[in-house]
Amino acid sequence: MKTAEERWLYTISSKKKLIDFNFKEIWRYRDLLFLFVKRDIITLYKQTILGPLWYLIQPLFTSLIFTLIFNNLADIPTGNGVPNFLFNLAGITAWNYFKECLVGTSDTFKKNENIFGKVYFPRVIMPMSVVVSNLLKFGIQLLVLTGLYIYYVYFSPITYTIAPGLNIVSFPLFVVLMALLGLGLGMIVSSMTTKYRDLTFLVQFGVQLLMYGSAVMYPMSYFRDKLPNYYWLIEWNPIAIIVESFRVIILGDGSLDINKTIYAIIISCMIFLLGLVIFNKTEKSFIDTI
């Protein structure tokens, strides 16, 4: 019975398609994305004295502590002619972006339960806005990194031989990979937590543990030399590959491993797509179980 009057703009049903992604709709809501970003930024440090300075304080102090503990105390080498502090700061800047994306998106459903329960808009706008607003934060931290970089190269009493190589052009690629990986994992976790809250606790300490396995405060080669039996854990960890590559292209120390980079791209895209599918499946009925 397909008559002319049976033509509908869209239907709502219980059927769940595996991939049911309406890009046109997301595009229509793009203004919402930017308004959420704006909201995140202007409200984050309201009623604080130091305000956006907190963006800088946190990575600087973490790097300082890392340098004291891991380099001065534990004597982890940071490569030829690379200042320890800069090494740590670069690692932390990259790691932080991934971490903020993951943690910020992993409670999407729970945090926005109230608004999701009242109005419909493409839910994926929410985690996407987290990724974009973290990008700004990442940008500010990158500026600090650049500032210190210039200091070490031109004004430091010791001469360092650091300079970004040609492979700096792949920099945006790694930023996108970090975002995809963080967003993908975050969406998976946020979908699972609507039913099983256990994952919230897993994320809380899991992220901390993951940092130690992600080559943030040591170069991968050092780990291979010291603990060759466990090296596979780090070697095939996509975020470790990304952090290491990020440092390589910024500090110009070593060269990019093309195979591992391709591997990281594939894994990141797969996790992102998986996250999207799961998120999409969850958004239809999570309000009943949360």
């Binding site: 509908w8 239907t11 203004d31 919402l32 909201r39 202007i42 309201k46 608004i115 009242k118 039913k195």
Partner: protein
């Protein structure tokens, strides 16, 4: 002309699981998944009972709504009426895509926007103006659409002076005004409105209802409206649907639906058992009826309210009792009181005695009232029962001219004579 139909709901149903999401959840999930793999239907869809809130059920699963079928034409204002828990909000949530149905289909030919409780998505730290943009975008407007309407929105909200102040400094009424103003300038084909007009002062409510009428009449947009306020329902809607226990019980012209609802609704009988009080003589039940003898607790202004009391005396005890009642408003002001000894010296005989009293219409102003029962033993000087046993409502239907504006608690029809 079926091409005029903008929304069609077919066999819609939504099942909920009661109780806590806990250890049982994962086993049910696995069971479900296993039967899907084998190509069988969901084992838990077969179970489930109609949604009767006050009764104890046997199944963990209930159908919040089931077998809902209706059509809405373009430009029509459809009212959805029902008790608490009848499934109104579930229906609206499905229509506005907040949750998906368990079975059935909704087909539409237009954009649906919902106005479920205004003010969600307001960020207290941001100014009124920033929140207009954010809220508008959440409801589906683009930035340029809002830019075009921002002045109108601010004007409609009446919050011009505070528009660049953070919303956390607003009074709750101002927040509602601002939120409704944003929503009122949405331009969806179908607008879903749930109980938003209950807030705000009288002036704003009037403005809001007027705006809703504009939306449907002059702009030709479709509105689905849920409210417990029968008066605004009657003014706004043409057609109505009455939901009861998740099913459509009645559908038709709005006034017929309201009548049906008012005469079949709420608790109109209160029963006390011997277990509650160990007395030889006590009031066993109190009931409210209208003049046709039908049980109800919703009265038109000009209806006479009948109350009947059943008094049980187990053994003859030759004691003197007094039965009285008070009508109390929500502020606990006793509006009238009356005792059966005012009229007569009644005897309470052994067994069941029934007393009735009527409160004439054209007297109690619109509003909610409580019936306070007072049963007293004069011989023992002892209060046996003093309890607010029933609630009833007097609505504006049947008001005489200009009664709207009267503030008095009682507005009786007095005998005016020109001499």
């Amino acid at each position: 002309m079926s091409s005029d139909i903008i929304l069609k709901v077919e066999n819609l149903g939504k099942q909920y699981r009661l109780g806590l999401v806990g250890t049982g959840t994962i086993s049910h999930d696995i069971n479900r998944w296993w039967s899907r793999i084998r190509g069988k239907e969901d084992p838990y869809l077969k179970v489930g009972e109609a949604n009767v809130r006050s009764e104890k059920g046997n199944s963990e699963y209930v159908w919040a709504i089931k077998n809902i079928n209706f059509e809405v034409k373009r430009g029509e204002v459809l009212g959805i009426i029902g008790k608490n828990g009848a499934g109104k909000s579930t229906l609206l949530k499905i229509l506005s895509k907040v949750t998906s149905p368990t079975e059935g289909l909704v087909k539409t030919n237009g954009r649906i926007a919902s106005l479920l409780e205004v003010g969600t998505g307001f960020h207290p730290e941001m100014t009124g103006r920033e929140n207009i943009y954010l809220n508008g975008a959440i409801l589906g407007m683009t930035k340029s659409e809002i830019n075009k309407k921002i002045d109108e929105i601010i004007d409609f909200s009446g919050c011009l002076r505070y528009i660049d102040t953070p919303v956390k400094r607003y009074s709750s009424g101002m927040r509602v005004r601002l939120a409704f103003a944003v929503a009122a300038f949405l331009e969806p084909d179908i607008l879903v409105v749930d109980e938003v007009l209950a807030v705000g002062d009288a002036e704003f409510q009037k403005k809001a209802i007027g705006k809703m009428q504009d939306i449907s009449t002059s702009d030709g947009r479709t509105v689905l409206f849920v409210s417990h306020n029968m008066e605004s329902m009657a003014r706004l809607c043409e057609r109505g649907i009455l939901l009861n226990h998740g099913k459509i019980e009645y559908t038709g012209k709005i006034n017929d639906v309201i009548d049906y609802y008012l005469s079949n609704n709420l608790e109109f009988r209160s029963i006390f058992t011997e277990d509650d009080l160990e007395e030889n003589c006590f009031v066993k039940s109190v009931a409210l009826t209208n003049k046709k003898g039908e049980s109800t607790s919703n009265f038109k202004f000009n209806d006479t309210i009948f109350l009947s009391f059943e008094v049980l005396k187990k053994e003859e005890d030759n004691k003197d009792y007094n039965l009285s009642l008070a009508i109390v408003n929500p502020n606990n002001v006793v509006i009238l009181s009356s005792s059966f000894s005012d009229a007569n010296d009644f005897n309470i005989d052994k067994g069941l005695n029934t007393f009735t009293v009527d409160i004439s219409g054209n007297m109690l102003n619109k509003g909610d009232y409580k019936v306070r029962l007072f049963f007293y033993s004069n011989t023992d000087r002892k209060t046996i029962q003093r309890i607010d046993c029933l609630n009833f409502k007097v609505n504006e239907i049947g008001f005489y001219k200009n009664a709207q504006v009267r503030r008095a608690l009682i507005i009786p029809k007095l005998n005016w004579v020109k001499v």
